[in-house]
C-alpha cells in the first residue's frame, strides 16, 4: 500500500525533471545549431562597401569602357564602349552632305543588314534607331542623338524592364571581376541590334552520364 504513495510523492519531481530536461535540450540544440541561415546573414549586411577598397593588385579596370549615364544601386558603373567595334564606323565617311547617286547604293553597302526585330510583319525601320541627321549617332526620336557607346539608352526606351535589370545586374553580365569597379557588357556586345535573338547552335561540349 505504501508503493503508490511514494510514486505520488515523486510525481512532481519527475515532472520537474522532464521540464528541466526539455529546457536543457532546447538550449543545447540552439547552441549547437548556430545556423542563422545565409538569408538572415545577408539581410543583416546593410553597410555600404567601398567597392574600390575591395580591389587588390590583380584587379585592374579594363580599357575601352565608358561610364554609364545612369547609376546603379551602388553609384556609378561602366560599360563596354562600342564605337571601336563597329566595322563601318564612322558612318559619316559616306553619310555626309554629298548625295549618293548610285542605284541601290544602300543595298550595296548594307546588304548584310536584315532587320529581324520588333514583329514579323512590321520590323523596326532603320530610322527608329539611327539618326537621320547624323548617321554617326543613334536616336530615340525627335532630334535626340545618342552616342553608340551609350546604346543601352536607345534600347532602353522600348525595353525598360530589361534596362532596369541590366542596371541592377540581373540582365546582361559583369566582366572579369566581381569586386572593384563594376564593368558590364553593353546591350550590343551580346545582341545584334538588327536581329537581337540569340542564335541556335551546337553546345560547346557534352556530358557523360554520372557514375
Amino acid at each position: 500500500m505504501s508503493k503508490p504513495e511514494i510514486n505520488k510523492c515523486l510525481y512532481p519531481i519527475f515532472l520537474s525533471c522532464i521540464i528541466l530536461g526539455l529546457f536543457i535540450f532546447s538550449f543545447l540544440s540552439t547552441a549547437f545549431s548556430n545556423q542563422e541561415g545565409v538569408t538572415k546573414q545577408y539581410k543583416k549586411a546593410v553597410q555600404k562597401m567601398d567597392r574600390a577598397g575591395q580591389v587588390n593588385a590583380e584587379t585592374q579596370v579594363p580599357k575601352n569602357i565608358v561610364r554609364v549615364l545612369d547609376e546603379d544601386q551602388g553609384g556609378h558603373f561602366f560599360t563596354e564602349a562600342r564605337k571601336s567595334e563597329i566595322k563601318r564606323f564612322r558612318c559619316s565617311s559616306c553619310h555626309n552632305d554629298k548625295m549618293v547617286s548610285i542605284q541601290g547604293a544602300a543595298d550595296l553597302s548594307h546588304a548584310d543588314i536584315k532587320v529581324v526585330h520588333g514583329g514579323k510583319e512590321k520590323p523596326l525601320s532603320c530610322n527608329t534607331c539611327h539618326s537621320t541627321e547624323d548617321r554617326d549617332f543613334l536616336t530615340t526620336g525627335k532630334d535626340t542623338r545618342i552616342d553608340p557607346d551609350h546604346v543601352y539608352q536607345m534600347c532602353g526606351q522600348c525595353h525598360f524592364r530589361q534596362k532596369k535589370d541590366w542596371i541592377g545586374g540581373a540582365h546582361g553580365k559583369r566582366i572579369i571581376f566581381w569586386s572593384g569597379e563594376r564593368v558590364v557588357m553593353n546591350c550590343t556586345s551580346c545582341h545584334n541590334p538588327h536581329s537581337p535573338r540569340f542564335a541556335e547552335r551546337w553546345p560547346k561540349t557534352y556530358s557523360v552520364p554520372l557514375k
Binding site: 545556423q35 540581373a170 566581381w178
Partner: protein, 310 residues
C-alpha cells in the same frame, strides 16, 4: 603518356620502398651524382617523402604552407616540366560568396562547362565536369526530371536549361559525412577539400543531395599545354587518383577578385556571382528583386546558390 605512367608507378611504389629509397635518394644527393636525371628524380623523391608527412592544411602555419607549396611547385617542374604558381590566399574579409542562375536566360550552350574543365584542370580521360546542365521541359522543376546528356542544337523549342554544380551549402552535409575532416567550409563560404587528406571513401558524395561532388577513378590526364598554371592549394592544383574533388567557386580566381570561369565564359549572362555581404552587389540585386528559389530547401542545407526567373 609515358612519363605519366612512370609518375603513378613511382607514387605507388613509393610507400613500399619508402625508407630504403629515401636513404638511397639522400645518398645520391649528398654524393653529388653526375646523372642530372637521377639527381632530379632523387630530389623529387625527397620532396614526395616530405609531402607525405605534411599536416592537414588547416593546421599548417604560414611557413608550413609556403614550404608545401614550394615543394609542389618544384615537383610539378621536375615531373611534368611545368612551372605552376600555387597560392594559398586566404578568405577576403567581409565576403560571403553567393551565386545565382537565371533559368530563363540560359540557352544550354555549355560554354561554362568547357571553361570550368579548362580552368580547374579536370581529368579529360573520364571527361569529368563539375557543372552539369540539364535540359528541362516547361513545367518541370527539379533537375532529376531533366536530361543531363543532351547533344543537339540549342536552345530547343519548349525547353529551358538548368545548371547544377556544388552549391556551397552553408550547412553542408558533405562536411559532416567526412570521417577525416578533409572537407570543410571556409569563412567566405566556399566548401573546399584538402586533397592530401581525403581518403576517397566517398561518404561525402553519398551525403550530397545535389550531385555536387566528383570522384577520381583514374589519375587525371590533361594535355600539358592546357594546364592552368595559376593554381590554389584548395583549388585547381594537381590531383591524384582515388580522391574527391568539386567546384570551389574557382577559389584561385574568386579570392583575387575575379569572376569564376563559368561566369566569365557564359555568353548569355545567366550566371551571377558576387559578395552576399555587399548590399550593392549584383547578387543582392537578384535576391532582392527577383523570384528566387533554391533546390531542396527543405533539407536545411542552406545552399548559397539560387535559381531565378525574370
Amino acid at each position: 603518356m609515358d612519363s605519366k605512367k612512370k609518375n603513378t608507378i613511382s607514387r605507388r611504389a613509393f610507400l613500399t620502398g619508402a625508407v630504403s629509397a629515401a636513404v638511397t635518394g639522400g645518398a645520391l644527393v649528398t654524393t653529388g651524382c653526375k646523372g642530372k636525371n637521377l639527381l632530379e628524380s632523387s630530389e623529387a623523391f625527397a620532396l614526395e617523402f616530405q609531402e607525405y608527412f605534411k599536416k592537414h592544411y588547416r593546421l599548417m602555419n604560414e611557413m608550413e604552407r609556403e614550404k608545401t607549396v614550394s615543394r609542389l611547385e618544384r615537383l610539378s617542374k621536375q615531373k611534368q616540366g611545368i612551372t605552376v604558381d600555387i597560392d594559398t590566399t586566404g578568405p577576403l574579409e567581409n565576403v560571403l560568396y553567393g551565386y545565382a542562375f537565371n533559368v530563363t536566360r540560359c540557352e544550354g550552350y555549355m560554354e561554362c562547362v568547357a571553361a570550368c574543365v579548362r580552368e580547374n584542370n579536370l581529368d579529360r580521360r573520364s571527361n569529368m565536369q563539375y557543372i552539369r546542365i540539364f535540359e528541362m521541359e516547361h513545367g518541370q522543376m527539379s533537375p532529376d526530371q531533366g536530361d543531363g546528356k543532351y547533344f543537339h542544337m540549342v536552345p530547343r523549342e519548349g525547353h529551358f536549361y538548368m545548371g547544377v554544380q556544388c552549391f556551397h551549402c552553408d550547412n553542408p552535409p558533405c562536411v559532416k559525412a567526412c570521417p577525416t575532416k578533409a572537407t570543410w567550409r571556409e569563412p567566405d563560404g566556399i566548401v573546399v577539400v584538402d586533397y592530401d587528406w581525403c581518403i576517397g571513401c566517398r561518404y561525402c558524395m553519398a551525403a550530397c543531395p545535389y550531385y555536387g561532388r566528383r570522384f577520381n577513378w583514374n589519375q587525371p590526364e590533361i594535355p600539358k599545354e592546357e594546364i592552368t598554371k595559376k593554381q590554389h592549394y584548395l583549388g585547381n592544383r594537381k590531383r591524384v587518383r582515388g580522391m574527391m574533388e568539386k567546384c570551389t567557386f574557382c577559389i584561385q580566381r574568386s579570392r583575387k577578385g575575379k569572376l569564376t570561369a563559368c561566369v566569365e565564359a557564359c555568353p548569355t549572362g545567366a550566371r551571377v556571382f558576387g559578395n552576399l555581404l555587399d548590399p550593392d552587389s549584383e547578387i543582392r540585386f537578384v535576391l532582392e528583386n527577383k523570384k528566387v528559389y533554391r533546390l531542396k530547401e527543405d533539407l536545411g542545407t542552406d545552399p548559397k546558390f539560387w535559381y531565378f526567373i525574370d
